[in-house]
């Protein structure tokens, strides 16, 4: 956790816990102890194993958790106000002009029966943005004929076009914070980088803070300044992108980085993390990565200390050993 004061920060998530209600057994925590914060204008990334709770964390911020999920612990501070305990109406007012989100599934996140124009206008209404700005925004996300797009319906657009519509929709209200949940999975790399560049530029111009969720480390690296790594419902490591990627301070981050294939890879096999992610039922106070960690010792069953060095933090008992090993190996 960066040691900035809360006042400077736009969003501070602290010890967030999200639980799923279950009919016959105890509640299940799907996010348990996630903490990170974002400053105005900052571009941050959330990476981690699939199923580690990235999307759920974003939805908690938006107040849009599925019906069987609820925030059961911790706080989500938006400019000092706790959204976790705020009234529905208060959060509703934030959505759009303050916080906007790009959803993971562009194919299903647009209402199939309404025109793109209508859906954009709906999003723009709360920020009092007019038709001209909408057309302009469509132009910026790369549509050659925005007027025509306005009259079309989602099924008439390609996957990439829909994803760009989603982006336009999120940005049209000029939010203070943009949550982008895997905004480019369905796109090929050329369009992907076009879209990312757009997000970058807009964030830069409008001072929008961005939290991007992605599996793709090259995406993260291109766009974000800081990075938060999630594993099994917790943020296990945070820090500036370059330094986290080049010098991970958590064994999970290190494993993640080394399993990514690289262009021109000549390896016969890729590295990968052995074992499987513990399910939420198996989570305990100790380090949740320990069953798969090469450095694990008995001590790992205890809650790992948060190791804060300058602008970086990580939760591991063996940071030192990790760093030592990295020195021996060739740096990334």
């Amino acid at each position: 956790m960066t040691a900035e004061t809360a006042a400077q920060e736009l969003l501070t998530v602290k010890d967030l816990r999200v639980s799923a209600t279950r009919r016959e057994s105890q509640d299940l925590h799907v996010v348990d102890g996630a903490s990170f914060s974002i400053a105005p204008g900052e571009r941050a990334a959330l990476v981690g194993e699939s199923g580690s709770g990235k999307s759920v964390t974003c939805f908690s911020v938006m107040g849009l958790l599925a019906q069987n999920l609820r925030v059961s612990g911790g706080s989500i501070r938006w400019r000092g106000n706790d959204l976790a305990t705020a009234k529905r109406e208060e959060i509703r007012r934030l959505r759009g002009p303050e916080i906007a989100m790009i959803y993971q599934e562009p194919l299903t996140s647009l209402n199939p029966l309404m025109t793109i124009g209508y859906q954009l206008k709906e999003a723009a209404r709360r920020s009092k943005v007019g038709r001209r700005e909408i057309l302009e925004m469509l132009d910026r996300v790369g549509f050659a004929d925005p007027r025509r797009i306005m009259g079309q319906r989602p099924h008439e657009l390609s996957g990439g076009m829909r994803q760009r519509v989603m982006i336009a929709m999120a940005l049209i209200g000029q939010p203070k914070l943009l949550l982008a949940d895997e905004p480019t999975t369905a796109l090929d790399v050329t369009i992907q980088s076009q879209v990312l560049k757009l997000m970058y530029d807009l964030s830069y111009e409008m001072g929008t803070a961005v939290l991007i969720v992605s599996h793709d480390l090259s995406v993260v690296r291109k766009l974000s300044d800081t990075i938060h790594v999630m594993y099994a419902g917790q943020v296990v490591e945070s820090g500036p992108t370059d330094s986290v990627l080049s010098q991970p301070r958590h064994p999970y981050t290190r494993a993640l980085l080394s399993s990514a294939p690289r262009l021109g890879d000549t390896r016969e096999r890729l590295e990968s993390i052995p074992g499987i992610v513990p399910t939420p039922d198996q989570w305990d106070a100790g380090c949740r990565f320990r069953s798969r960690c090469p450095l694990a010792t008995e001590r790992c069953a205890e809650t790992p200390p948060v190791d804060v060095v300058a602008d970086r933090s990580s939760a591991c008992w063996h940071v030192d050993q990790l760093l030592a090993e990295q020195k021996e190996a060739t740096p990334l």
Partner: protein
Amino acid sequence: MGTYIAGRLAQMIPTLLLIVTIVFFLVYVVGDPVGLMLGDNATPEQVAAMREAMGLNQPVFMQYLNYIGSVLTGDFGESYQYGQAALPIVLERLPATLTLAIGAILLALVIAIPLGVWSATHRGGVIDSVVSSISVLAKAMPNFWLGIMLILLFAVTLRWLPVSGAGSWAHLVLPVIALGTGTAAEITRLVRSSMIEILSQDYIRTAYGKGLRRRAVVYRHALLNAFVPVTSITILQFSTLIGGALVTEVVFSWPGLGQLLVNAVSQRDMALVQASVFVIAVMVLALSLISDLLFKAVDRRINLG
């Protein structure tokens, strides 16, 4: 589009022929009206003479061919009861039944949509259970029973509304309630289940994410998407409603097609049966065509053709 409609209309012809054929043989199997026509004191000779006069002594197949021949020219024959061409009699009755059926459907929708939406948005809660129980109750009340109860309550005891007959709008109220309640129950269940399905869709979350109010999300985004399933079940209900109308018409002595049809069947008035079924069939088929076009207008993804 034009060709699509033309194609659909062309498809109606074999369907209608099929219907006419089915009904012909059904009525044939039931027997002819001669006995009924002649009454209590008829002699067998009279019966035979009457059969011959009506061409009922020919082989079935010949009768069928003759019949189809005349149907193709738009002639459904003469109703022996009324001594008139059957089709105009049916058409004369049509508005009464349509008024009732459309009234019932509108009522059902007016009740079912808010209730269905309400119980879907409160799924699993008390409201949901109450709505479910009410719809079961409504479904379990046969419409004649409900009709009689309504008459006893609103006409006899409270004297708010007339008992029976057709005429002013006031006459329409009770029969429409009696007929529409069961349909409302069914549509409520359907609206509920479609809404539950729709409300869990990602685009609903998107709508909330824009900061829209719950009402706007539920009634604008979700309900629009429930249009197609709700309309198609409503159309399906229409032919059931005509069946239900028949009982309701008897209770409220409403001079509609239903009563006509029941009498026609029990009096073995073949021409009248055929003409009524034909008119109802054309209506149902036309409605299904209209509904398909409507779907297409609402949901452009639907590929007709």
